[in-house]
């Protein structure tokens, strides 16, 4: 592939990525949102975070299987406790990396 083909491909990919990020924001930011929608949307962050995280911790990719013995889950326990106790994002990230690194050395 050459420059024009790459450009057209990435521009099209960019467009289909941008529009779903842009339209709801543009539309909903200028509407009076009903209370039920605000209440429902307030649960979206916790639900998305959990939905992103759970398969990383609890499953094995390719082939997709349930695996509750992997270091990702083991390391998540102390990382969760650090987050809970310190409420520090930076501290949790550093601690999580450290635990994961140690788990890699020990296991």
């Amino acid at each position: 592939m050459h420059l024009p083909e790459y450009f057209l491909l990435f521009a099209a990919m960019g467009l289909v990525t941008y529009v779903p990020r842009w339209l709801p924001l543009l539309y909903l930011a200028h509407r009076r949102l009903p209370q039920w929608l605000i209440d429902w949307l307030s649960l979206i962050p916790v639900a998305i975070l959990s939905a992103l995280l759970a398969p990383i911790l609890l499953t094995h990719a390719e082939p997709r299987t349930l695996d509750i013995t992997q270091p990702e889950l083991l390391v998540a326990v102390p990382t969760f406790l650090i987050a809970w106790k310190t409420k520090s994002l930076g501290g949790t990230v550093i601690a999580g990396m450290l635990f994961y690194w140690l788990a890699g050395l020990l296991l």
Binding site: W22, D39, L41, P45, A51, R64, V75, A83
Partner: protein, 245 residues
């Protein structure tokens, strides 16, 4: 609830600078997590013989980690352009949900700002910004700074990965766990009450089952929308509020 007036933006350089600095302060865990992923993407792109300028162009035009990985893999396997574009669309559709949730905190903000902001909505920036919007007085300029610093680091790390990625040892210092640890902490921040804990548990259970049973990435949108709806219904029923509200 705060409300930035879109018509009269205060022209106070110092305060805007402070807001940007605050944003940068919040963005560094994302950057730390993006770096190894960006490097890995660059390495794969280099193996697929995609030139470095094309990798940079892709990171600027698309800015979506998982879709870019899929694109590189599909290019390497000779997939058609149409199928790559369609896959990108489906994989990134989840951001429509995040965009909707962010709209609650960007009410009445002018459309130019929203159009620039929308470009930087990713799983990671969404999670960081939503937490901040909920917990403290978080300015939209700080939020925009988070998006753009993360974007800059992403572009640089993908290009770096293409050029020198194969010389960097894999998994050094547990850096591969940076984003997972960040998600764990942001999840903890979100556990405001029993309803949020219940929603998190339901989302985790549905996501794992969905992930195992259905190929692709639909589990993210499917599990989060179902769990939010169940959590919402539990909350409404427990409060005994009138369904007519």
């Amino acid at each position: 609830m705060k409300n930035d007036n879109p018509q009269y933006q205060p022209v106070q350089d110092t305060s805007l600078q402070d807001k940007v600095r605050k944003g940068f302060g919040a963005a560094w865990p994302i950057c730390l997590g993006y770096f190894p992923i960006g490097l890995a993407l660059g390495v794969l792109a280099q193996q697929a013989e995609i030139p470095v300028w094309a990798v940079g162009m892709m990171s600027i035009l698309v800015f979506a980690g998982s879709a870019q990985f899929i694109c590189v893999a599909m290019l390497a396997s000779g997939a058609s352009v149409t199928s790559i574009i369609l896959t990108t669309f489906v994989v990134n559709l989840r951001h429509a949900l995040m965009s909707s949730a962010l709209a609650v905190h960007l009410q009445g903000v002018n459309r130019w700002f929203l159009s620039v902001f929308a470009y930087g909505i990713t799983d990671e920036s969404f999670a960081v910004n939503m937490t901040r919007f909920n917990n403290d007085d978080w300015s939209r300029w700080s939020a925009l700074s988070v998006n753009h610093l993360a974007n800059t680091v992403w572009i640089i790390s993908t290009i770096t990965g293409t050029v020198i990625g194969q010389f960097i040892p894999q998994g050094a210092f547990g850096i591969d766990y940076a984003l997972s640890a960040m998600f764990i902490c942001l999840l903890v921040y979100q556990l405001h009450s029993m309803f949020f804990v219940a929603t998190a548990c339901i989302a985790a259970a549905i996501a794992v089952a969905w992930y195992l049973l259905i190929p692709g990435d639909s589990y993210i949108v499917g599990a989060s929308m179902s769990a939010a709806t169940i959590g919402f219904l539990i909350k409404r029923r427990t409060r005994g509020s009138h369904a007519s509200s």
